[in-house]
């Protein structure tokens, strides 16, 4: 039962977005998140929606699949929305008991809520279209220049690789331990939440022990295969910047130009008049 949990949320596909260089996708995602904070009005969001829509269409990931990712943070969105709606001072629209809803509040609530939604969609597009292994390669390659500053780029990537490899193994192990405990009469499904939480302790202890045992075995196996850190290592998958990546950069530039133009140009024009 526990093995049914899907790991990560990669949506398999061969679209152009899937095949982009993971480093570029990482950078563009960060840039996109920053760009959301540049936008000041709904016209700007128009540009954002157009861009997001274009990427989603190009990635061929079904929209429903993407929106499902929003479910997880639905509560956060609602929370942000209500906080903004009730807590902003300004022109009063109506009151509900002690709570006042202002015009500015309503505006802010919608605006902030949308910003969160775009943020989640934008970043989930990265994980939906990039295999975790490739993402790891991308992160390692991007962090490499920071090695001089003491950022352990290779080590981080290796840790992520191993974590990805052993998630299914540890899930299996958990399943095995749970079944062993259930066979001896353990009950994980009834009782108060505290009772249930406490019944997890006999699972966690053996799980930790076996995780350490696996780590020890694995470390020995890695050493036996000549692992000695990132120095002097070659890679099976070399990251290459291709034509399609250049096209993506160009399109991204257009997007940022539009956003910046939308944000700053009117201000200059007004300044000229007054």
């Amino acid at each position: 039962m526990i093995r049914d949990i899907t790991i990560g949320q990669f949506y398999p596909g061969e679209s152009g977005v899937h095949r982009l260089d993971p480093r570029l996708k990482l950078i563009l995602t960060i840039a996109f998140i920053v760009s959301l904070f540049v936008v000041r009005d709904f016209l700007g969001y128009g540009v954002v929606v157009l861009a997001l829509g274009a990427v989603v269409a190009a990635s061929r990931v079904p929209l429903g699949f993407i929106l499902r990712g929003l479910k997880a943070i639905f509560i956060i969105i609602i929370f942000t929305f209500t906080m903004n709606m009730f807590m902003t001072a300004g022109e009063v629209l109506f009151r509900i008991g002690v709570l006042t809803v202002t015009k500015e509040g309503l505006y802010n609530a919608v605006f902030m809520g949308l910003r969160l939604v775009f943020l989640i969609i934008g970043s989930s597009l990265l994980t939906l279209t990039t295999k975790p292994i490739k993402l790891t390669d991308g992160i390692e390659s991007l962090l490499k220049p920071l090695k001089g500053l003491g950022v352990p780029a290779h080590e981080l990537a290796m840790m992520m690789t191993i974590a990805l490899r052993f998630i299914p193994t540890l899930l299996e192990e958990t399943d095995k331990i749970m079944k062993a405990q259930m066979a001896r009469g353990a009950d994980f499904e009834t009782g108060s939440i505290f009772r249930r939480a406490r019944s997890l302790v006999p699972i966690l202890v053996p799980l930790f022990i076996s995780a350490f045992r696996i780590a020890q075995d694995l470390a020995m196996a890695m050493e036996a295969r000549c692992y000695r850190g990132g120095d002097g290592r070659t890679k099976l998958h070399e990251l290459k910047f291709r034509r399609r990546d250049a096209v993506a950069v160009l399109l991204a530039c257009v997007y940022f130009a539009l956003l910046i133009g939308e944000r700053f140009l009117p201000a200059w024009i007004f300044k000229g008049y007054f």
Binding site: T161, A224, L236
Partner: protein, 277 residues
């Protein structure tokens, strides 16, 4: 046969148990030479020191006394530890805990990547080693989707992609079902056929009959050493060490005691041939 690729010279390995004053001797003055291209099986019951022996050959453990030479390199010499590990590959017992990557072909690439092999060459080696263990069509799969025997074959592919001169198998079939055991033994025999030196650590006597030399360890010492035919004729000694002889050997021994003149046979086919004569 050519020169000796592995030389153990009075190898002693001690370790300290918690709350015990005296160190325990896992290996006590073991001297052994393994010829290049040979197939040696090392047998022994639990605690006989056979796994410690394997780890000493790969420089994962260093001798407390005596010395170990692999292809002329002393394992105690830190400068050559990577040459030693490249030449003497190692396959471990647990098929789950020795695969590093979530994708089969990436895992096979792990060793060559560590050795600094060029990308194009790595791709060639992946293809060749996965094909030779019959796992090429699984190259894009995750290890958790494979059976124990298949995982162990991937682990072997990962070792042979490093182009070792010899491979040490540390109870590679102990955690497998009979089918997986068969698969792995077939791959080991195939490797031996290709000229790779094999050291097979095992407690399955049946696996040892395929070797051309059998070494039985008992309490950290070499108890018996010879061809399988020679060793398995020492039934008394084998029983004394609480080991089970292969079924065929046991049968031949019992027939002999009943007055039959059975020749020294160790393989099932030979026995069948004798009985049907």
């Amino acid at each position: 046969m050519g020169k000796d690729i592995i030389v153990l010279d009075a190898l002693t390995y001690e370790y300290r148990k918690e709350d015990e004053e005296q160190p325990v001797k896992a290996l006590d003055g073991v001297s052994l030479s393994v010829a290049e291209g040979s197939f040696t099986a090392v047998l022994g019951k639990n605690g006989s020191g056979k796994s410690t022996l394997a780890k000493n050959i790969n420089a994962l453990l260093l001798p407390s006394g005596g010395a170990v030479y692999v292809d002329g390199f002393n394992t105690a010499d830190e400068a050559h530890v990577w040459e030693i590990r490249q030449r003497a590959g190692m396959v471990f017992q647990n098929p789950d805990n020795q695969l590093v990557s979530a994708i089969v072909e990436d895992d096979v690439a792990f060793g060559p990547e560590n050795l600094g092999v060029a990308t194009e060459e790595i791709k060639l080696r992946i293809e060749r080693s996965l094909k030779s263990v019959g796992m090429y069509e699984f190259r894009k799969k995750g290890p958790h989707m494979l059976s124990g025997g298949q995982k162990q074959r991937v682990a072997i592919a990962g070792v042979i992609a490093m182009r070792p001169k010899c491979v040490i198998f540390d109870e590679p079939t102990a955690m497998l079902d009979p089918k997986g055991r068969e698969e792995v033994m077939d791959v080991i025999r195939m490797l031996h056929g290709e000229g790779v030196t094999i050291v097979l650590i095992t407690h399955f006597m049946e696996e040892a009959v395929h070797a051309d030399r059998v070494v039985i360890l008992d309490d950290g010492r070499v108890a018996l050493d010879g061809t399988p035919e020679e060793v398995f004729l020492e039934m008394e000694a084998i029983r004394e060490m609480a080991l089970d002889a292969p079924l065929v050997v046991e049968l031949a021994d019992r027939l002999r005691r009943r007055g039959w003149d059975v020749p020294p046979v160790i393989k099932m086919e030979e026995m069948v041939e004798y009985l049907c004569r």
